[in-house]
Amino acid sequence: MLLEVEGLSVRFGGLTALADVTLAVAPGEITAVIGPNGAGKTTLFAAISGFLRPQAGRVRFAGREVGGMPPERLCALGLVRTFQVTRPFAGLTVRENIAVAAHLRHASRKAALALAERVAARVRLEDRLDRPAAELTLAGRKRLELARALATEPRLLLLDEVLAGLNPAEVAEMEPVIRGLRADGITVLLIEHVMQAVMRLSDRVWVLVGGRIVASGPPATVVRDPAVIEAYLGRGAAERLLREDALAGGA
């Protein structure tokens, strides 16, 4: 396993955001964490990527204990995240934005700028290279988040809702980009709300509800899990759906 999370708990005062979360990410796969709003998905990412110190639990990355490490060190080890609310360096151009990340493994300005250009082409930002990042649309900013993360040449990429807020055409453009990462040997852990995309993209899904993992498995199995259906559609929904299925089957 490339990433192993064991018994992770995060509390904000009296509120328990994550309770004893255990999950694993296999190398070379696309793994998704799904769950309704407020389930603790972004908190989970913050705790894994070093932005938040969990009260309990362990995080192992590439066989190494990384709990409590600051984000910049994790990034150097090859674990990088994007932000759901995009955080572009607004005053810099797209090229300069990506170059900051490229500098992680390339000291020379020239090498970093060259890598920035290659990565930009990969997420289809090549025609906006010299525009200020502040000018980008939401879809553009999501691509920039992805491009910067890729420019750090990671082993594990944590994508926080890179498809949220995009229209169907933009989602359709992003999907092959994410799928292409797997082909390049980059392992992906993503949080996503766009369910259809999750079903199509991921090899394995973990379902987080109220700060707890309630189900996991291949996407096709997980969507039929009663606990998951209840979490999304409310108490009794699973039973209702089963009844309707039976009725529809009988007719």
């Binding site: 360096f89 992680l104 300005r109």
Partner: protein
């Protein structure tokens, strides 16, 4: 080094001034412009590039100024060693201020206040310690000679200041076009995003403050050589800190030339206001205040930013 030709041109163009004029007033003014341009450049390494607004650069300027004066007067060292010691002492001061604030993640106005506090504490210490001559200050004996970094005429000091200013420009452009420059810009724009991308924000801010403090210390040491007199207010007073940040903000923090342009505008303005008011004390500060308000209100990117906005408008693009 894309800016190197421009810097070379600047240095060569400024070089012949003492041969073109024998006016002491002009040379004095030009020397002061270069001095404050370099101090502004030092401030801009931290304030403009890294977005860490210091309100206490007097702490570094004054440390440099006192270090060389003390080295020469109290320990009998030559002025060149004094100059080197001044830079080292200012860097040490930068390490202290930087560690005390960046280690504890102080940003924005909190950082500004901490730097101001350090400068004020330094001023009070200089005012009471024996080694700094307390309130009386320190007086260096007048003895022109290259080994003492003292010059018989104003031209020598002008060229000295030009070397310093050119050095500051080269340093700033090297940082600007390097990995450090990219990382400083990232920290300035969004520190959390920078950290997520592997930028050690604490380390790069420390590097910025060390370079900034070292350059400001060199300017302080030059000041000592120029006036051969120091007291706590001259070295550590808040007006030094204000002059350090005013030039870059008026000229434009985003450009290598902003601090130079800002220093030129402010020094000319200060001179004009003194002449107009018959040398009233503080007249230049009133003029600075008015300019600062106008710039911040109408041209937040400084004079250079103003020109860029115009050029962009003319090309029909925004931003």
């Amino acid at each position: 080094m894309r800016s190197l030709p421009a810097i070379g041109f600047f240095a060569l163009a400024a070089l012949p001034l003492p041969w073109l004029t024998s006016s002491g007033t002009v040379l004095n003014l030009a020397t002061m412009v270069l001095l404050f341009a370099t101090l502004g450049q030092a401030w801009n390494l931290l304030g403009g590039m890294a977005g860490q607004f210091s309100f206490g650069h007097a702490a570094f300027f004054g440390t440099g100024a006192y270090a060389t004066a003390i080295a020469q007067i109290r320990f009998g060292l030559d002025a060149w060693s004094g100059f080197a010691l001044a830079i080292l002492a200012a860097v040490a001061m930068g390490a202290l201020v930087g560690f005390a604030s960046f280690r504890f993640r102080l940003r924005g106005s909190y950082f500004a206040l901490v730097t101001l506090a350090f400068a004020e504490v330094a001023r009070i210490l200089a005012n009471s310690l024996e080694i700094t001559g307390a309130g009386v200050g320190l007086l260096l004996p007048l003895a022109p000679g290259l080994d003492r970094l003292q010059f018989a005429d104003k031209a020598g000091y002008y060229w000295f200041a030009l070397v310093l200013c050119t050095g500051g420009l080269v340093l700033a452009s090297l940082v600007r076009e390097s990995r450090l420059g990219a990382r400083l810009a990232a920290v300035r724009e969004n520190e959390e995003a920078a950290r997520a991308l592997g930028v050690d924000a604490f380390a790069v801010k420390m590097q910025a403050i060390l370079l900034s403090a070292g350059l400001a210390g060199a300017v302080g040491a030059f000041y000592t050589q120029l006036f051969l007199y120091l007291d706590p207010h001259i070295a550590f007073g808040p007006q030094v800190s204000v002059e350090a940040l005013l030039g870059p903000i008026v000229g434009g923090t985003a450009s290598l030339w902003g601090p130079v342009l800002g220093a030129a505008v402010l020094q000319l303005l200060g001179e004009a206001s003194r002449a107009l008011t018959g040398g009233a004390t503080g007249a230049n500060l009133v003029a600075y205040g008015i300019v600062l308000v106008l710039i911040v209100r109408f041209f937040p990117d400084g004079i250079i930013g103003m020109g860029r906005a115009r050029a962009a408008d003319a090309r029909g693009v925004t931003g």
